[in-house]
Symmetry: C2
Subunit: 144 residues, 2 copies
DNA sequence: CTGGTTTAGTTGATTCTATCAACAAAAAGC
DNA sequence: GCTTTTTGTTGATAGAATCAACTAAACCAG
C-alpha cells in the first residue's frame, strides 16, 4: 500500500537532526540535538523537572539525567531546589541558555520554512494531525 | 504555526525503531533496525553494492561498510565479485536472509497496520505525499 | 602508456544516542 | 512505622553516526 512511507519519516527526522546539529555547531557548544530537545522542554515547561523531560520526550531517565548534567556543565541551565519535593530539582534556562534558545528558535524557523516549501497551510495541518495520530497509534504496544 | 510537528516525526521514527527491534529480537539475531533497512535495500536492488545502500539510505559509507560486515558475519547476505568492477562487490540475500526478510515483511505489515489505525486510505496517501515533499525539501542544504 | 583524479570500500577513532539494571533518598499510602 | 512508589543518579554496554586517513580499482586527459 504505502510500503516506504516510513522511509520518508526516517529521512525527515535524520535530516532535521543534522541541520539542527549544524546550527548548534555554528554556536560551538559541545551539545547535540537531544540536548536541544531537552532545553526546549525546559524552556516551555513551568517548574520543569528532569522527570518532565523524561515524559515529554519519552526518553530513558538515565539518558535524561546525563543530558541534564551536561547542560548544567555547559552552563545552559540551572538547578534549584524544589520547594515541595526534595527529590526533584527545578530546571531553568540560564541567561546563556536563553540566548541559545533564541538562536535555535531562529534556526528552527529557518528549517521549518525550508521543510514546508511548496506546501499549503491546509496540507501542513493535515500532515500534523495525521502524524500525531500515527505517533499515538505506536504508543506502548510491542505485541507483535 | 506548527511548532511541534517535528516531535511527531521523531516519535514515529523512534517508536517504529523500537517496535522493529522487538520483532528482530524475537528472532534472536544480533542485528538492529539499521541492518534491517540495509537488508531491505539489498533485497530490493538489482545487483546491489554497498554504495547503493549508502545512497539509498543516505548513510555514511563507513557505517555501511560495518553494517555489511555484520550482515555477512550473521550469514544474512553474501558477497560476490562484481563482473565489471573489481572495486565493488555484489550483495545478495542468503537463504536465511531471505527467510528473515519474509518474517520482517510480516512484522512491518503488522506495525503498518497498527500505525495506520483509524486513518483512511486517502489520508495516508496525502500523508505519504507530504512526507515525501518534506523529505525532499531537506535534502542537501545546511545553509543556515 | 603515464600520471592525476575520481570512485568504492575499509579501518580507526570518537561522539552521540539508547538501554538496562542497581541504587539512594524522599514522598506517599496504609 | 513500614512498605511501596516516585525521582533521580550511576555503571555498564550496545547501537548509530561522523570524520579522517587510506587502499585499490577505474577513469580520463594528454
Amino acid at each position: 500500500m504505502h510500503p516506504h512511507f516510513i522511509e520518508h519519516i526516517f529521512a525527515i527526522s535524520e535530516r532535521y537532526r543534522v541541520t539542527i546539529r549544524a546550527a548548534i555547531d555554528a554556536n560551538e557548544l559541545g551539545i547535540g540535538a537531544m540536548h536541544v530537545r531537552s532545553l526546549t522542554v525546559v524552556a516551555e515547561t513551568l517548574d520543569c523537572t528532569a522527570n518532565n523531560i523524561v515524559t515529554k520526550l519519552s526518553r530513558d531517565k538515565a539518558q535524561v539525567a546525563r543530558l541534564v548534567k551536561e547542560l548544567l556543565a555547559a552552563g545552559l541551565i540551572e538547578k534549584d531546589a524544589h520547594p515541595e519535593d526534595k527529590r526533584s530539582q527545578i530546571l531553568t534556562l540560564s541567561s546563556s541558555g536563553n540566548t541559545l534558545m533564541k538562536q535555535l528558535k531562529a534556526a528552527k524557523a529557518t528549517i521549518q520554512l525550508q521543510m514546508t516549501q511548496g506546501l499549503s497551510t491546509h496540507e501542513l495541518d493535515l500532515f500534523n494531525t495525521i502524524a500525531h495520530k500515527i505517533a499515538d497509534n505506536l504508543v506502548c504496544n510491542n505485541t507483535l
